[in-house]
């Protein structure tokens, strides 16, 4: 698997995939996409990077353990739901704060935060499994 061509191209391919996964995540509310699919794409990117350049390189690049990404995702996902409690509305009632930047309306909202949380959980959980499997017995 570790051919020269694959090893050379994998970092660029992974970077592109991660970028694409974020694009898929953010367009999700109106076009096909969303946190779950985005997360799966990003996890594949990390898996490819791991197969090509070794797990250690991925762990270095990530800085944190992938499982903590999943934990973070679960945390902000829950937080997005908790927010509405403070406005005396039921848990997970969506809140919207549309802002306009350069004449483009961007709808910031708790569902968006929640979707980002889903993204992180999926990336974190799947990437931890894939990376752990890619690691050799010796380490």
């Amino acid at each position: 698997m570790r051919t020269l061509i694959f090893r050379t191209i994998a970092p660029y391919l992974s970077a592109l995939m991660v970028l694409y996964s974020i694009f898929v995540l953010l367009r999700g509310h109106n076009e096909p996409g969303g946190g779950f699919i985005g997360g799966l794409i990003a996890a594949s990117a990390l898996a490819i990077f791991g197969i090509a350049c070794g797990v250690a390189a991925v762990r270095r690049a990530l800085k944190v353990h992938p499982m903590s990404l999943a934990g973070f995702g679960l945390f902000i996902g829950t937080l997005a739901g908790v927010y509405s409690l403070f406005t005396k509305q039921p848990f997970m009632t969506s809140q919207w704060w549309p802002v306009t930047i350069f004449d483009v309306e961007i709808k910031l909202s708790t569902p968006l935060i929640f979707d980002i949380g889903v993204y992180f959980v999926v990336v974190g959980a799947i990437a931890s499994i894939a990376l752990a499997l890619e690691e050799r017995e010796s380490d």
Binding site: V24, G28, H29, N30, E31, P32, G33, G34, G35, F36, I37, L40, I41, A43, S44, A47, M67, A70, G71, G73, L74, G77, T78, G81, F91, M92, S94, W96, K107, S109, P111, L112, F114, D115, G117, V118, V121, V122, G124, A125, I126, S128, I129, A130, A132, L133, E134
Partner: protein, 793 residues
């Protein structure tokens, strides 16, 4: 009494819990002297209850309550009558001196603060138990006493014996608590009442209900385990592993009496029946005799006292079981007397152990010069325990003999049992109070001398109280015994006590017989001890051993069941899971006869046929694949084909997800294969492949039939219409699938991502498991340091 003063009782129950919080901080700063300020808490509670003596002795009872969970009709409420008042006084009064004693006894122990905390937690639980008016709060506090006593018995948790004793006590008393819970629930559903005070107002409801027998047995299950009745008596002597303050508090005056309290409390509701008057005296009597005989066999001071506690509890249960007024009066008196002299004697035993370094009665002697105050306390308490005048123990014994002698049934058997039991108790009292102090001075491991005031305050006060209560017998009768007896009888009952019997009557003669028999046996103590030891060795089996066997049996049973259900073979798990799935989809159709009719073949275009063909080819490739890796990849072909089908029918989100899931599952399955070093080929024989093939086919056919059946139902558009209409207008998103996931059904998704994260963690843990590493089973406890050794006492 003002209502404010009554309501203060609600706080009095909670005060020990507050004290438990501050105890570690105080102990950090004041060391063992923290006992002085801490003892103020139980002392204040004692004074609070003392304020009730006047009105209660005039026949009043009080209820204070606060709403706790009003939607369930549950209140946090306390009920104060003669019974709960006397118990409250005993718990807080003895508790005060136990706190002081613990200060002296565990002086310098690194965990003394924690010990104070545990004691206070227990004290609060015990107060809540005896004062609890609500049956459910009573149960909660009941279990809390079991849990806190677990903490206290296991205080020296570095020793295996201590841990075993703690677990044993928890299993027996906590298990009994669960039996009691069943009884409490039955009482509530039979009577519709949750408050003790309401139950006492109409006491015959349970007896008339037809559910008397199960309720009786369940309540008994709770009471007998807590009060260490035969055959559950074994946990109490083992609990002597606890530091002595614990034994003096829990295993003499309070916790073990909780069972007796329950029986006394329920007496108006459950007592007086033939069943009650048969079962209780029989078990109580056996416990009395077994306890005293086992006590004589011991040489360890604490164990001797522990077995006589078992015996005393048996005596109390026996007396309560007669339902005869004078016998109940005897029980009330004996309960008060026993709490005082047994608490004192335990502390005396602790003092001897603390100062002389041993509590083996055969290695002690001539201590009366070295420890005069302890000796005086021991003598007073032992005289009360022996039932000699002028002590409260004597009055108790006179009244209880009066009760057994005049009991309506089996008077002779009751009296003989009581006389023999009391004679043996006199033997133990003499052994504890005479042997260590008289005779020639024996060399002890430590140079014995009198301990500090913290150590002797408790035994002195408790033993002197036993004398004072007897000297002021009229007041004792009207203030404590009368009100408490009235609670047992359910009607107001006057009590007149006498210290000196006015004429020679049967109880006096029985007392003389008891003393004569006791002295006779004491002179033969060593011979008696070896004789009993011989018999016990010959029997060789006891409930204590039975407990170990039962626990070992449960462990091996669960191991056997686990081996059966969790063989650890993936193939079996998968086969069972899919077998169950297949059965779940096929059996209902088979039983209900509801096979769907085959739909008409739709007209497909050539490219739709083409994609279906790819899917089928993928499946054929899976079946004929030579290596496992080929099979995995071929399965991926089928998956991609399905994704294409989704695309043709306009579900872009599904396509997207399906493609990613297929890709990742092929990658991960391939990684699993290499990681787990699976052999590249399937080596199963033809028969096994046939079986798995059949299971796979059953699931496939079943799911297909289910899908056909579902698609033949008329399609309900209401949900689709709702989401189509509102996803953009109220959730501001045009991608309906995504809006459902993150907004309309957000909580579902939250649950799902939690599962995903958890599954990731579990897989990670599984990958990292190294099966070769086994944990050592035996104690890895470090050797106790010098100060920690003391807790062994």
């Amino acid at each position: 009494m003002t209502q404010a003063a009554i309501d203060l009782t609600l706080l009095a129950v909670l005060a020990p819990f507050a004290a438990a919080l501050i105890a570690p901080f105080l102990t950090k700063h004041l060391k063992h002297n923290a006992a002085w300020p801490l003892a103020i808490v139980p002392a204040a509670i004692f004074l609070h209850f003392a304020g009730f003596i006047g009105p209660v002795s005039e026949g009043e009872s009080f209820v204070a309550s606060r709403a706790w969970a009003p939607s369930y009709g549950l209140d946090y409420s306390v009920y104060i009558d003669g019974l709960s008042m006397v118990f409250g006084l005993l718990i807080s009064g003895i508790g005060t001196f136990i706190i002081l004693y613990a200060g002296g006894y565990l002086k310098g122990h690194p965990q003394q603060g924690r010990f104070f905390s545990f004691l206070f937690l227990f004290m609060g639980a015990m107060l809540g138990l005896v004062l609890g008016n609500n049956l459910l709060t009573l149960f909660v506090f009941w279990e809390l006493t079991s849990i806190t006593s677990f903490l206290l018995i296991g205080f020296g948790h570095l020793r295996a014996a201590s841990r075993r004793a703690a677990i044993q006590a928890l299993v027996v008393t906590g298990g009994g608590g669960l039996i009691l819970l069943a009884g409490v629930i039955m009482i509530i559903s039979v009577t519709g009442q949750t408050e003790m005070s309401a139950l006492l107002a109409s006491p015959d409801v349970i007896k008339d209900s037809g559910y008397y027998l199960p309720i009786f047995l369940l309540v008994l299950g709770g009471a007998f385990t807590k009060s260490a009745q035969f055959p559950f008596h074994f946990w109490l002597p083992n609990a002597m592993e606890a530091p002595t303050p614990v034994s003096a508090f829990l295993h003499s005056a309070t916790m073990v009496k909780a069972g007796v309290y329950l029986l006394m409390r329920m007496h108006p509701m459950l007592g007086g029946t033939e069943l009650w008057m048969t079962v209780l005296p029989v078990f109580g009597g056996i416990t009395l005799l077994v306890g005293t005989i086992l006590a004589v066999r011991q040489t360890d001071l604490k164990l001797m006292l522990a077995y006589t506690t078992v015996a005393s509890l048996g005596l109390l249960v026996m007396l309560v079981g007669t339902s005869y007024e004078r016998a109940l009066e005897g029980a009330v008196l004996y309960l008060i007397a026993h709490s005082l002299f047994k608490g004192a004697l335990f502390m005396v035993a602790g003092n001897i152990d603390h100062e002389a370094g041993t509590r083996d009665v055969t290695k002690l002697g001539g201590l009366r010069g070295a420890m005069p105050i302890t000796f005086a306390a021991a003598a007073l308490a032992a005289l009360s325990m022996s039932g000699l005048p002028p002590f409260i123990g004597f009055i108790a014994k006179e009244v209880l003999y009066y009760g057994t002698w005049g009991a309506p049934s089996a008077a002779m058997a009751l009296t003989v049992t009581a006389v023999v039991g009391n004679a043996l108790m006199l033997v133990i009292a003499a052994a504890v109070a005479i042997k260590p102090f008289f005779g020639p001075k024996v060399d002890t491991p430590k140079h014995a001398h009198e301990g500090p005031v913290l150590l002797f305050a408790g035994p002195v006060v408790l033993s002197v109280t036993g004398l004072v209560l007897a000297l002021f017998f009229t007041a004792t009768g009207t203030m404590f015994v009368g009100p408490m007896l009235s609670s047992l009888m359910g009607t107001w009952t006057e009590v007149k006590l006498v210290l000196i019997p006015p004429y020679v009557n049967a109880p006096l003669i029985l007392s003389l017989i008891t003393i004569g028999l006791g002295v006779l046996l004491f002179l033969q103590l060593d011979r008696l001890r070896s004789a009993i030891a011989g018999v016990l060795t010959a029997i060789g089996w006891g409930p204590d051993k039975g407990f170990d066997q039962a626990v070992a049996g449960i462990v091996s049973l669960s191991a056997a069941v686990t081996r059966r259900l969790q063989g650890g073979k993936m193939q079996t798990y998968m086969a069972l899971t899919f077998l169950a799935t297949g059965a779940a989809v096929l059996v209902p159709g088979y039983l209900g006869g509801g096979w769907p009719t085959m739909p008409k073949m739709p007209v497909y275009t050539f490219y739709e046929w083409g994609i279906l063909l790819v899917a089928v080819l993928g499946l054929i490739a899976v079946l004929i694949a030579k290596t496992r890796l080929t099979a995995i990849v071929s399965l991926g072909i089928q998956g991609f084909a399905v994704a294409m089908i989704f695309m043709l029918f306009g579900a872009p989100d599904l396509v997207f997800t399906q493609l990613m899931v297929e890709t990742l599952s092929v990658v991960i399955l391939a990684l699993v294969m290499t990681r787990l070093n699976l052999s590249p080929r399937d080596h199963r024989k033809g028969g096994a492949a046939l079986v798995t093939g059949a299971i796979a086919a059953s699931v496939g056919v079943g799911i297909a039939l289910t899908l056909i059946a579902i698609s033949q139902q008329p399609f309900d558009r209401s949900l689709s219409d709702f989401f189509t209409e509102y996803s953009n207008s109220i959730a501001y998103g045009r991608n309906i699938v995504n809006v459902i996931l993150v907004d309309f059904r957000g909580i579902d998704t939250l649950g799902e991502i939690a599962v995903v994260a958890l599954a990731g963690l579990c897989v990670l843990a599984l990958i990292r498991v190294h099966t070769t590493k086994t944990l050592p089973e035996e104690d890895q406890a470090p050797a106790p340091s010098g100060s920690a050794k003391r807790e062994a006492a």
